[in-house]
Symmetry: C2
Subunit: 308 residues, 2 copies
Amino acid sequence: MRQLLDAGKIKRGVVVGGGYIGLEMAEALVRHGLEVSLISRPPQVMGTLDYDMGALVSQALRDVGVSLYPEETLTAFETKDGKVTGVVTDKRTLPTDIVVLGLGVRPNTALAAAAGIPLGEKGAIRVNERMETGIAGIWAAGDCAESFHLVSRRPFYVALGTVANRQGRVAGINLGGGYATFPGVMGTAVTKICEIEVARTGLQEKEITAVGLEHVSAVIKSRTKAGYYPGAGEITVKLLAEKGSGRLLGGQIVGMEGSAKRIDTVATALHAGFTVEDMINLDLGYAPPFSPVWDPVVIAARAVAKKL
Amino acid sequence: MRQLLDAGKIKRGVVVGGGYIGLEMAEALVRHGLEVSLISRPPQVMGTLDYDMGALVSQALRDVGVSLYPEETLTAFETKDGKVTGVVTDKRTLPTDIVVLGLGVRPNTALAAAAGIPLGEKGAIRVNERMETGIAGIWAAGDCAESFHLVSRRPFYVALGTVANRQGRVAGINLGGGYATFPGVMGTAVTKICEIEVARTGLQEKEITAVGLEHVSAVIKSRTKAGYYPGAGEITVKLLAEKGSGRLLGGQIVGMEGSAKRIDTVATALHAGFTVEDMINLDLGYAPPFSPVWDPVVIAARAVAKKL
């Protein structure tokens, strides 16, 4: 494939799916000089963000030259001589030389199910805090295993390297006769599409609604560095808090270099159970090469607090 | 001065003081092509870090060509025709064309003292949580005012833009008849010397000793991004925790691009009163362009937890 790309024999690519894999592949294909189209069923890419934040990522993809076809569904492929030549959706046919399917992740738990091990969320193996399954002495960790969401306080499924790694460590300690627990996850994730950094943690709007909570939110635009400092880029931060109490429920960030890892402050505040009012007083690092005087995360917390 | 620099008439500079201002000026002079010497009384620059972490900053300065003269004290200047020609220390005379004094900050509170307003830590104006001085109806904020340290639970003095800005907001709300409080600071600060980023929060070793606590600490080296990712740079993280309880007391970071703002995670954990064991389970953002699978801050927390 690398040879075909280098020889210029692959000119057009269609990516199906607007999640992490789809977007990272769209970026890779654009960088190889292909004409790239991306099909996704939701109105915006990056479904782990709310639509208003996902729209920023959609725009970033268009800005690098990706043609987006949102709210379309893959129905068939066209082929010739055993090779794909087109992608058929419910609205059009896109001629292409290559297709990337980024259709999401499902835990492969057929063996566990056949063995009588209880499954849970999205068919993942149900485990307790020690990563032990419903059958004593059988342990599970990683993309096949369920997690617990520390904000919704409900079982949760997420297939990420960090979670797998941490679950594996806990399972290993317990298997070896030690004692360790994995309390759960915040749903933190970061990614990068060309120059745009994307981050999220906690619950997004639809997840908040699903657990029966009401929320207020604010979206603010600021800069990654002091406005006058060379290289200061735009950053958009959205925070969501429980209506009334102001308890932080989640956060999303889209912006230029230096944006994504600011989600760690939001994730740590979630672990602490902070309200957005608690966050206003966070003593975060400031110097012109790193931040405006008020960090964008704190600006967002103030904006939410005003709406409570 | 800019004209003299551009004309190449200033060839040598001596900076007195190894704090934020001294280091930032040393960087600026090096970038203008001067031969730069830096004199400081402590054995390492950046006295708000422990010596082991300050040593990394000292080395970074040497690497960019600054000649360091630690453990030396300024005693006199040599002059000719009303212009400085040399800096005399207790050990040597350094010929120079320009001298920068970065000797630290003291609050200018003579007027307040003369008016009978009580002073506190380092001569700064004593204020309550609402930024009101010891005399009702008189308020103070910024570099002249005292703060409260949220880890040591003692009065504290720090002259930083973030603190001044936040104190000013609180004083303004109260002056205007509203009600707002400024709970205090963590002593968070970040800076940059050429390519090296430096950050600190909470208490350093000598501050921990001063408040009568015992601590354990660990220093770990990791990378700012996944090791195989282009641009991954070294990062050194030190965390300090209370002996026995494991309560986080402070953190220090020295490293390449992407290092400094990781201090925000440590600062937020301090606000939360977390132990280093709590920090092991933080669900921080991971993707190869941003972090190793285990964020360096979490690696450091694990290293401290092992020593408890």
